[in-house]
Amino acid sequence: MAPSIRKRLLVSLTLFIILSLGLSGYALDHAFRHSAETALVEKLKAHFYSLLAASDDDNGKLVMPEQLSDPLFNQLDSGLYAIISTAEQQETWRSPSAVSLNIPTLPKTDTGQFRLQHLNAGGPVLMLSYGIIWEPEEGIERHYQVYVLQSTQTLLSEIAEFRASLWRWFCGIAILLIALQGIIMHWALAPLRRLAKEIQAIESGQKEQLSDRYPAELTTVTHNLNVLIKNERHQRQRYRDTLADLAHSLKTPLAILRGLTLKSGNREEDQQSLSEQLARMDEIVSHQLQRASAKTGRSNPLSIPPVRLKPLADKLLRTLSKVYADKAVETVNNIADNFNYRADERDLLEVLGNLLDNAFKACNRHVSITAQSDQRQLVISINDDGGGIPEAQLSQVLGRGNRADTRHPGQGLGLTVAQDIIQSYHGKLTLGRSRLGGAQVQVELPLT
């Protein structure tokens, strides 16, 4: 199965949030670091100029005062250091703060050039070096290298702190956004969920049509679905009507022919064979019509409205009690009020009508109908207190036109017609012995 829309959106939007937050975090981090470093470099330059301002000349050599104006230069290990060396890397002066500073090698810098370098001198430092030419009024000019160093410990920890706080915020925002996205998606996909639910309700028979309360993007789908369901129903109806009309137009001529066989003064054998052939034709018509309509069975369960079973059975029991009034049959309808089944009402009438008719024919006094259902299937059982079906005949009885009991008039097709229809719904018909003493017929119909 393809991943759900929800999953697709959730995964892609989460990736998008993480990626965009990560990139902007990286950019912010980078910008912060850059501006902090630039500020530090500017500070070092300022220190450099103040050192130059404080320098003095002693016989053509550059000398520095003992105390500098910036107290950080005077305090041991303050983090701000200055060193001056000759062009040959011969150190000539160190600020008091740098007395214990351990610098591996001092780089040489071209005159008039600033040079920046990250070093490790008992801790991370940033070193600004500059080459100068010391030119007293008289005497020869000398080259010096001036180094200003600043410990970056504080800067680095500031950056680390900024970074930690930045990512804390971003994680919080990411979680918030992902949660928000989940909520938005839940809300945005609600119509789809409702659609699925409604279709399910149509399938299970609680609804006949989709409602029209859908967002514009879905209305085309729901509208078309409704039209489809309706058309299917109409088509089925038309099909049935056509079949019924065909039955009508064939059966009346058959009835006339049957009447004629009695009157035409034919020989008895001719009459016999004529009426046999007529009976066969009639059976063929009935059978094929039944099959054709049974085939429409469960072709599209959505287009079949559900049928409530109890009133349907009541109707049949009432009808049959009238037909078999002479027998004064006592009927019991034990089907629960809320039982319904998604099938063509006529199919159910046909199945239960034929089976109940058989029960009425066979019974002495009592006929009962009950139904049970579980997750998978609906089981309807019809019981009577008649003679029952002998074990030996149980398998034969379901054959076309076979009858276990020839006492009653009729075509003997009832049971097979019922079976055909039940099979078209992928159900099962079983015969057995009833607790009432007669036959029990069970109809199992699948619910899914």
């Binding site: 009508h248 064939l250 009835a255 049957r258 009034a325």
Partner: protein, 223 residues
């Protein structure tokens, strides 16, 4: 017994008419629902045979209309559609039994007989009153276990009286149930038939099985 046949197919209608009148019924025929409704409202039938697929007014509506107007005689429906939907619809509309086309005439006649008896509250096909037995299936009449020869009309009168025991049946009612609608009601043929029936059932004037109530009608007075 008087029967109404409502069937639109002329040949089938004629066959029904022939078979049913051969069985001793007087009959009226209607070719569509409207005509059927007219007859059904106008005359007191003992039974009606109605096809479901009728022009002008369909069988179901016809039955409903008749029942609404309290015409309570039994109705047998004929249907080409053998499905239960139609049977249930017809019976719920007020019919009492159905027969699917094509059918055997014997089956139809047996159903008519049973319906008429049932409507009269007589479940047994053999009606009996005192020493008289009448078998509605064979149309044979026994008085003190001796077979009695009755003409068709004598039989019709006796059957009607036996289906309505103890009831005072007027001459008009008898005429209407025994003859078709074009019969001349003023004639004294009913009196003549009753007289002949009395002689056959009670040749020695001992039992007086049929009482005449002056100005009111006749009553089968045996139990």
């Amino acid at each position: 017994m008087r029967a109404l046949i409502v069937e639109d197919e002329p040949q089938l209608r004629q066959q029904l008419a022939d078979a049913i009148s051969d069985a001793g019924y007087s009959i009226d025929q209607a070719a569509d629902g409207q005509e059927g409704l007219y007859y059904g409202q106008e005359y007191p039938y003992d039974i009606a045979i109605i096809d479901l697929g009728l022009p002008k007014l369909n069988g179901i509506e016809l039955i409903q209309r008749l029942r609404e107007q309290k015409h309570n005689y039994p109705i047998l429906i004929l249907t080409a559609r053998a499905n239960w939907q139609d049977k249930v619809e017809g019976l719920e509309a007020g019919a009492d039994d159905y027969l699917v086309k094509p059918f055997h005439m014997e089956e139809l006649l047996a159903r008519l007989n049973a319906l008429i008896r049932r409507a009269a509250g007589q479940a047994n096909p053999v009606l009996s009153a005192g020493y008289i037995q009448l078998d509605t299936r064979t149309q044979q009449v026994l008085a003190r276990k001796q077979a009695i020869n009755l003409t068709a009309y004598e039989y019709k009168i006796l059957e009607y009286l036996m289906l309505n025991p103890q009831k005072v049946v007027s001459k008009t009612e008898l005429t209407e149930h025994i003859y078709a609608q074009d019969y001349d009601r003023d004639s004294n043929v009913i009196e003549v038939l009753i007289g002949r029936l009395r002689k056959k059932l009670d040749p020695h004037n001992q039992e007086n099985p049929i009482t005449t109530l002056r100005g009111r009608g006749y009553q089968l007075s045996l139990n």
